[in-house]
Structures are given as C-alpha cells and as structure tokens.
C-alpha cells in the first residue's frame, strides 16, 4: 500500500513557526503526533468523512476536527442553514430570533434543559457553569476529576503550566474517577464550601484508557452532591450529541443541574451552550458572561440544522454501530498479527491502545502507519465517528489497518 509524504505540510510549517508561536498551537499542535513524519499539519479541503492535506493526500478522518464534525464536513443542510442566516444577518448589534428558536429546540430535546445560554467555545460554558454554581450556592469550591479536561482557562489547567499560578487552583479539588469514597471524603472535609462537581459523562483523558461510569456512580454522585446543597455539572462538550440527543447523562440515567455542550452541536460552526434547570434560571441570569462573537446567528442556524439532521439520522445509534464495526474489525486484525488491541470508552468515540508494550510506542507507530496510508488516527486521544462515515469507509480503513500491522511487524 502506498504511503504518503508531507513535503508541502513541512514547507508550510517552516513558514508557520516564524510567524506563530509553536507554528500550530493548542490541541492542533503536532507535538503529540508520534512519529511526527507520519502526520500532515495543514489542510484546506474537507468533505464528508474525508479531508485532503496540502500535499493532496486523502484521509478518512477519525478525529473529526477533534469532535465538531459529526455529520460530515460541508454537510449541505447545515451549510445551507448557516449561509442563509449569515446572508441575512450574522454579527449584528442586537440578538437574532434564531437564538430563541435554538434555545427552544434544546429545551425540547434535552430533558434537563429548562433554559439555554449560548457562547462560542466549550470553555466559555464550562467557565459559566462554575460561575453559576458558585452564584447559586454562595460557595467557592469545585470538585473535578483527576485528568479531566474542561478547557484551558487557568483554573482548569494542571499545576505548573506556564501562566498558571497556584491561587488558580485554590478552590479546585481533584478526585479520581469512579471513586465515591474520595467524593464522600471531600464532602466531609469541605461540605459547606462545595459549590459543585464538574465531570465529563464518562472519563476520557488523553494518553490513557477511557473509563465508563461504574454502575450507580452518577446516581450516587448526584445524590451526595444534592444532599450537600451542591450542584452537578456535566461537561458534555466532547461527548454531547454523540452518545444521546438528550445529553449523555440520559444514556447513563441521571439528571445533572447544568450541562455544557459544544463540539458536535453545529457540525463545525463555532457554538457552545449551557443548559440548566429551572431552579438555576435566576442565578444564570445574574452572572455576567459574554463575548464579541457569542451572538453571531449563523452558527445558531447551523446548530438547528445539525441537531435536526442528527435526530433524523438517529446519529448516536448510527455512530455507535459504526464505531463497533470499526473497533471489532481492528481488534480482530490486530489479533491476526499477534497484537492485543484494547478498546475503551464509548464506541462513537473510542480510545484504542495496543497492550503489547508498556510505553505506547507500538500504538504510536501503528497509528502513524495507518495515517500514512490514509486513515487519520492519533495515538493520544479518543477517536470520533461521524454519521458521514460509511461501511465502505470502515472496510477500507480495516484494509489500511491490516497493512499498517504488517509494517509494524516488519519494524520489530
């Protein structure tokens, strides 16, 4: 099977690094792409489940823009909805009725939602959720999960990161995932000062196996927190609308007080939403939180088209089925080559790891070999399925995986 080269990507990167710190920063930084020469850095074309890099290499994309692409790139209905609204009015000096329509749609679709607030990125609403929790409880402390990610604002970054000061973490308490005893201890130690608990619906850290909630975990969490007068916040930025159209909490059978959505909500258009219960409406109204682009209506129109299409397609079920087909196939092919592939997390956004070494180097090399053959896999982060992936895509991907395992065998 032919493998790709990335000469033009590299040339662009040489220009980038002179003009932009890191060249490409944040979660798009090439730093975790190992081996680096297996990955493209720049693309200007994407359609359906594929993108083409600046060298013209074609990829079946299993990162889906790290989540926002859920129906396929350049989805005609979503793009048409965006364009129609954008031509009519996007940025404006007053809000668009579109915002109300989208809020009403979320209230109908998400059982917990009795109101909705919109912003641009996931961190906008994770920050807001914490502010609402503090405002509603008059308490300071937030409990979060070790290794959990809720954006890059200082309070959410790990200690030691540049630009973060110890005081940023003064009121943040991290506990292990699925550890009810640790939660009880924190409540015992700080009960009167705990504003809320924030976590993703299941634990999906980077560089580590993902973990689903243990039976009864969320039910105990909500019971303990509510009994303590504290709020439960679900950060559904990454998983929202991939696992369940009513919010991932519906899949796991519990009711939080606040849910943060972004990524898949508008199929790539910039939008995030915080939804909450009636009891928090007044507190949410009192918190001042805004941004220059938070009222741009095009993204809101795109979100309505995206959510409607996802509902019609039964998107979460479809992505789970595609993910199962993909991961079952990879596990089988890996075994045929003498490797053990471990699959964790939810099938719509699975995390895979070869367990035959203790340093992820096999996994890195294999993902690199797959990417060089046209299946864009990263080794450090969960992958994403979309409704644009087809069974033929999966079949072709499995051929790539097979060839990549052969290459891996030859390297060893």
């Amino acid at each position: 099977m032919k493998t790709y080269n990335y000469d033009k990507s590299t040339e662009w990167f040489k220009r980038a690094v002179k003009a932009i710190p890191c060249g490409v920063y944040g979660h798009f930084s090439p730093a975790p792409y190992v081996p680096i020469d297996a990955y493209p850095f720049f693309s200007n074309r994407a359609q359906g489940a594929r993108f083409w890099d600046v060298d013209g290499n074609e990829f079946i994309d299993y990162m889906c823009a790290y989540g926002p692409m859920v129906l396929g790139y350049a989805h005609p209905d979503v793009d048409a909805a965006f364009e129609a609204q954008w031509r009519q009015s996007d940025a404006n000096s007053v809000a668009s009725p579109c915002m109300i329509e989208l809020a009403e749609m979320l209230i109908d679709m998400v059982p917990v939602a009795e109101w909705a607030f919109f912003a641009r990125n996931g961190a906008d609403v994770t920050n807001l959720s914490v502010m609402v929790a503090r405002a509603a409880t008059n308490r300071k402390k937030i409990i979060a999960i070790k290794g959990g990610y809720h954006g890059t604002t200082p309070w959410m970054q790990a200690p030691g990161h540049h630009g973060v000061i110890p005081e940023d973490h003064e009121h943040l308490i991290r506990i292990p995932w699925n550890d009810i005893a640790a939660l009880k201890q924190v409540i015992a130690d700080h009960g009167d000062d705990i504003a809320g608990f924030i976590a993703t619906p299941y634990h999906h850290p980077v560089f580590a196996d993902n973990a689903l909630p243990a039976d009864g975990y969320w039910q105990q969490v909500t019971e303990l927190l509510h009994k303590n007068g504290s709020l439960v916040i679900v950060d559904d930025v990454r998983a929202g609308f991939r696992l369940h159209m009513g919010g991932s909490n519906e899949k796991y059978g519990f009711k939080p007080d606040l849910i943060c959505f972004s990524k898949a909500i508008a199929n790539g258009y910039a939008l995030s939403a915080l939804v909450g219960t009636e009891a928090l409406r007044v507190d949410a109204a009192k918190v001042f939180h805004t941004g220059s682009f938070w009222f741009c209506a095009g993204s809101m129109a795109a979100a309505m088209a995206c959510l409607k299409t996802l509902q019609e397609q039964r998107g979460p079920e479809l992505m789970a089925a595609l993910g199962k087909q993909l991961t079952d196939g990879i596990v089988e092919i890996a075994a045929n080559h003498g490797y053990t592939m471990k699959v964790t997390g939810e099938m719509a956004m699975p995390y895979l790891r070869i367990t035959d070494d203790d340093n992820v180097m096999l996994q890195q090399n294999w993902c690199g070999e797959c990417t060089k053959r046209g299946a864009f896999f990263t080794s450090h982060h969960n992958w994403f399925l979309s409704t644009a992936h087809t069974e033929d895509d999966i079949k072709h991907t499995l051929d790539i995986c097979d060839d990549a395992f052969k290459a891996l065998k030859e390297q060893s």
Partner: protein, 254 residues
C-alpha cells in the same frame, strides 16, 4: 528557606556533581586534576553533606557518602553555601587545615572551568568543541536538577504527582550525550547519565546544534518537534511534565 535549600541542593547535586564528568569531556579539566589526591566534604548544618573526591585523574561525587574526607568545610546554612557559590562568602574549614592552600589556589581552577562551560556566551557557542561539553553538562545538570526540584519546588512537586511511573531518556544524536530519569509514579525521580535499558518515553535531539539552541533558549521546542529536529516517543506526559519541571531551573540558577 525552601528557596535557599533547593538552590543549595541544585548547586551541589546538579551543578557541582558535573565535576565527575568534566575531566572526561575536557582535556584542560583533566590536566587540572591529574595529580590531585584529595577529598572534600561540604557539610551544611542540618542538611546534606556531599563528598567530592579526586584521585588518579578522576573525580567522584557522593551526595550522601559517609566516608571521611581530607577537608571538611562547614556551612551554617543553605544560604551560606549559596553565597559561597556566588563568591560572596567563605566556608568554615573544620578539617584539613594543611590543605587550605589547595582550596584557595588549586580547587577554584576546576570550578572556574565548570562555570566556563555552563555559562556560555555567543562566541563560545560558535566553537563546536565548547558546544560538545556545554551540551553534556547542561543535560546532566538538567536531569539531576529535576530530582531536586521535584522534591523541594512547590510547583514541581505538584507536577511530579501527576506523572505516571516510567523512564524518560534524553539523547543527543548521533552519539550522545545521553541521560535518563526514572519516575516512580509516587512523586520521586532518580537521574542517571547514559542510556536507559527500556525507556518509557524518549526525547532525541537531531544533533548538537539543535540541543545547544534549545538548552540555551534559542529554539522554539514545539516548532522543532514538528520539523523533526526533536523526536519524541512513548509516554508523552512524562516528557510534557519533565519540561514543566525543567522550566523551573532558572528560578533558582542563573
């Protein structure tokens, strides 16, 4: 207080420790110590008392040795030791009075040679032979500094708590130097010169020029990774977090 303690440990366990390898890297250093046969202990009141020994053209540094030394230098505090390193105070000799001449006249020659290689100027960095020694000493200082920072620096000690167990190897290609740090996953690190048998993660610098530019603050590390000048492999969180700890060094050592 912690600032002084940590700086003292860095001065001894990360910087002065380089005297073990300097003579193997630099002919002038080897010449300086060739005929020395003497041992020195630096005893900081209430703290560590490492021993430095010169014999048969070699130097050994033992951070926690109990063997007696020919010369015993007493420091009232970590701050006193740091002042000595900054040439602003003298130690109090408790033993080895007949060797005070050595301490005053001979010993500074090797520490000055060490300082010369660890504090480069632009002209020096144009000399490939200087760069070879500077890189090795900078790498070794860094890995040993990580162990001290992880123990005493308030931020680094939080960072190491987040790290999984594993061994991080750092290599300058094609032929070294190399060093590695073993993390126990419980907040402790141990550093070694040379290659690891089975690293969990690795950083490899394409050549000495790349390593030198990075160590001396002239290179965007992220950009260098993307261009393949620095190759990362394995458990990347070990690398990310080690970088965060290494970035604390300038807070204590200039």
């Amino acid at each position: 207080m912690i600032q002084d303690t940590l700086k003292a440990r860095l001065n001894l366990n990360a910087v002065l420790r380089n005297l073990e390898v300097l003579p193997t890297l630099d002919e002038k250093a080897a010449e300086i110590i060739r005929d020395w046969s003497v041992s020195i202990r630096f005893r900081i009141r209430g703290d560590i008392a490492p021993r430095l020994a010169f014999s048969n053209g070699k130097c050994t540094y033992a951070p926690d040795a109990v063997d007696p030394a020919d010369i015993l230098l007493f420091l009232w505090s970590p701050a006193h030791l740091n002042a000595m390193f900054d040439n602003k105070a003298n130690p109090i000799p408790l033993k080895g009075f007949s060797k005070l001449g050595f301490l005053k006249n001979a010993f500074p020659k090797i520490t000055e040679r060490l300082e010369y290689f660890l504090k480069p100027d632009e002209a020096a960095l144009r000399d490939p032979d200087y760069v070879r020694v500077n890189i090795a000493l900078s790498l070794y200082t860094g890995v040993f500094a990580v162990c001290e920072l992880a123990q005493f620096d308030p931020i680094a000690s939080q960072v190491i708590q987040q790290m999984p167990p594993g061994t991080l190897q750092l290599s300058v290609l094609p032929d070294g130097p190399e060093a590695h740090i073993v993390y126990d996953g419980q907040g402790h690190a141990t550093a070694f010169r040379g290659a690891a048998k089975n690293p969990t993660a690795s950083i490899a610098f394409r050549d000495r020029t790349i390593a030198s530019r990075l160590f001396n603050g002239q290179l965007d590390g992220f950009g260098a990774v993307a261009l393949g000048d620095i190759k990362l492999k394995g458990l990347i969180p070990l690398i990310d977090n080690t970088n965060l700890i290494l970035d604390r060094i300038p807070l204590y050592l200039q």
